[in-house]
């Protein structure tokens, strides 16, 4: 414990440097704007601003990007509550009761509870991250290629399992992502695969053009033809304070949301989205008067908002400790770290303690900055939405092109973004999820390498995956997830994930 406190002191000595503080602040402001804008979620936001971080040192860059991630989660809730527009997917559940509160004139308290809940959840989950990541990293030193392969496979299966729709479709998308990840030079033999003479494809398809295309551009394509911007409600500062009853009602949902969000965040998948859905369902189940949900229940804002912020920190645990991203956003963060010459994984904490602990400390600082920043400035942030959408989306499109081009200075990347935008548009029209494609793309090289290295180690025997205990346990968990999804399908029964989505749908209507 003393060692942890000493390390945290080291972290704060890094995070409280004026330069780092400035980047945390700038990241939070940009992130909040990104969260407010419909169509640019945290993933597209981080991807787009990745080139801006190239000129910075590693710590400043990671602090800036983490600030954008946090800020986007905060910003998304603002538009959900005031306008019923989820700035990003994790805020969908906040729309239901948050907007109902706004219509009753309680939008201010909903915003305040959301901000306080996010702050508490963010801070507590950073403590959990701080305590959990180092021992996990020590444990991960026992991992060899078979264990990594099993872990990555489990990650993809868990993502497919936790996605709201069909597991078959999610698995198909994960495999599609893995196939995209096969493009480029085979790392073991040096053969060019599927690059068709394009030198730029030698290193494979980049995460940024794929992520921006599938998430940013496809959202623009889906929404560009729509008109009628919604009414903007602007609460005054004195209207922000919740009543004593509202504070009391929010206390436990914030606590439950924090624990639930962190636990779900560690599991691979679109954690922050799933955690808010599950938190809402839990709060409704535990409520004495569940009929209030959908009509402005503050618990319906406090729980999901705390859960999605807590999941954000949870998602950093496997990324920092194992070097394995648990979802598309940590995957882009991982790519950003690699650009700066950092290799997240078990050795990061030992070799670059000032970066790891500085990052942890900057998350505390970021949470505080967001709490101070968001409530008084909420009126300014939502003014962005007064810009008519026919002018807003061309501007977002321009940033997409600029951000993607700037990463490698390559027009091929802009072409890939365009193709992925078209693909993402079609996939979403046909009810496919796009997150598994990005995660598959990121994991493909690691997965193939660990698979083939494992076979080299065992002279071609596949038993290596079941004779090593850690690999076996991870594979068994993966098989269990697969079976638990297949069995209800075979027995024509509805599984629990569908039940959640039905209840959410009922609320929306």
């Amino acid at each position: 414990m003393a060692e942890t406190l000493q390390n945290l002191y080291l972290g704060f000595s890094v995070a409280l440097k004026p330069e780092i503080l400035l980047y945390a602040f700038v990241g939070c402001v940009i992130g909040t704007l990104v969260g407010v804008l419909p169509g640019v979620g945290p993933l597209a936001g981080i991807s787009l601003l990745l080139p801006v971080s190239f000129g910075l040192n590693a710590t400043s860059a990671i602090v800036l990007l983490a600030g954008i991630y946090y800020g986007a989660m905060y910003g998304g809730s603002t538009t959900s509550i005031l306008m019923r527009i989820p700035g990003e997917a994790a805020s969908v559940m906040t729309c239901i009761d948050g907007y109902a509160m706004t219509r009753k004139g309680r939008g201010g308290p909903a915003l305040a509870i959301s901000a306080v809940g996010s702050y508490v959840a963010g801070s507590v989950s950073v403590v959990a991250l701080m305590l959990l990541a180092p021992p996990l990293a020590t444990f991960a030193l026992r991992f060899g290629p078979p264990e990594y392969f099993s872990l990555l496979l489990l990650g993809l299966l868990a993502l497919a399992y936790m996605s709201g729709g069909s597991m078959l479709k999610s698995l198909a998308m994960a495999v599609l992502g893995l196939l995209l990840g096969m493009i480029g030079i085979d790392p073991m033999t040096g053969f060019f695969r599927f690059s068709y003479g394009l030198v730029e494809l030698g290193d494979g398809i980049g995460i940024v053009p794929v992520a921006v295309g599938l998430f940013g551009l496809s959202e623009i394509l889906l929404t560009a033809g729509q008109s009628t911007p919604p009414e903007v409600v602007k609460p005054r500062l004195k209207e922000l304070l919740p009543s004593r009853d509202e504070w009391r009602a929010s206390l436990w949902p914030i606590g439950r949301g924090t624990v639930l969000g962190f636990a779900i965040g560690i599991i691979p998948g679109s954690a922050h989205i799933i955690s808010s859905f599950i938190s809402y369902a839990v709060e409704r189940r535990l409520a004495k008067h569940p009929e209030r949900f959908g009509n402005g229940a503050i618990e319906g804002v406090a729980g999901p908002e705390s859960a999605n912020n807590s999941a954000t920190s949870g998602a950093f645990v496997p990324m920092l400790a194992l070097g394995v991203p648990s979802g598309p956003i940590p995957a882009v963060m991982l790519a950003a770290m690699m650009v700066h010459g950092i290799s997240p994984g078990p050795l990061l904490i030992a070799h670059q303690p000032e970066l790891f602990w500085g990052f942890i400390a900057s998350m505390y600082v970021g949470n505080l900055v967001l709490l101070i920043l968001n409530l008084p400035l909420v009126g300014i942030f939502i003014n962005v939405l007064r810009v008519p959408y026919p002018l807003l989306y061309p501007a977002i499109l321009m940033f997409c092109v600029l951000g993607v081009y700037a990463v490698n200075g390559s027009v091929v990347d802009v072409g890939i973004m365009t193709a992925m935008g078209g693909l993402g548009y079609l996939l979403r029209k046909f009810d496919f999820e796009t997150a598994p494609v990005v995660l598959g793309l990121v994991l493909a090289p690691m997965m193939e390498m660990s698979f083939r290295q494992s076979l080299s180690m065992s002279s071609g025997s596949y038993s290596i995956f079941v004779t090593r205990p850690i690999a076996l346990v991870l594979l068994m968990v993966g098989v269990a997830l697969l079976l638990s999804s297949i069995i209800p399908f075979l027995m024509k029964r509805v599984d629990w994930r569908q039940r959640f989505s039905v209840s959410a749908g009922e609320e929306k209507s």
Binding site: V175, L179, P390, L391, V401, Y405, F430
Partner: protein, 184 residues
Amino acid sequence: MVIPYCVFRGAIIPKSVSHIKRFFSGMPGGVLLQSAGMLTNDRLSGCVLAIFALLVIWESRLLPLGTFRAPGPAFVPVLLASLLLSFGVLLLVTSGDTRRLASVTWAGWRHVLGILGSCVFAVFAIERLGYRLTVLVVLIFLVKILEKRGWIVAGIFAFVLAFGSFFLFYTVLRVPLPQGPLGF
């Protein structure tokens, strides 16, 4: 179930298309034939995924496959494509009660084509015309032609964004952006 038959070129076949469907529905390939009759989102998606998987397998023929115990560079792509093929076929045969294809609306197709076209233009123009000129043209096209705003609004908006973003990213943040032959 009695299905009316007729004789065609010496063979006994069901009388009409609906009879053909009923005739085949009890056979192993019947599901596929029914699929063609009732096209759902998932069935079309399944078909496309299966075709894509076959294409990947075909393209992998140029690379060494290796053996089961010592995989070559084509091994994992073929393995993944085979998985995708099976997912595609599963999607095709298990999705009878999903959304019909006709329920998908394409109301915003003009915008979709316009935006994708702008991106394609950017791919070809950004290094030839430079960042500022390319963005200027794209924004004027989107705002004036696609969104039907006035020339003044479109012009000012495009000019401010193209030159403003260049100044911010190129000059202030030192992000390398192409200048083009005219210095734009």
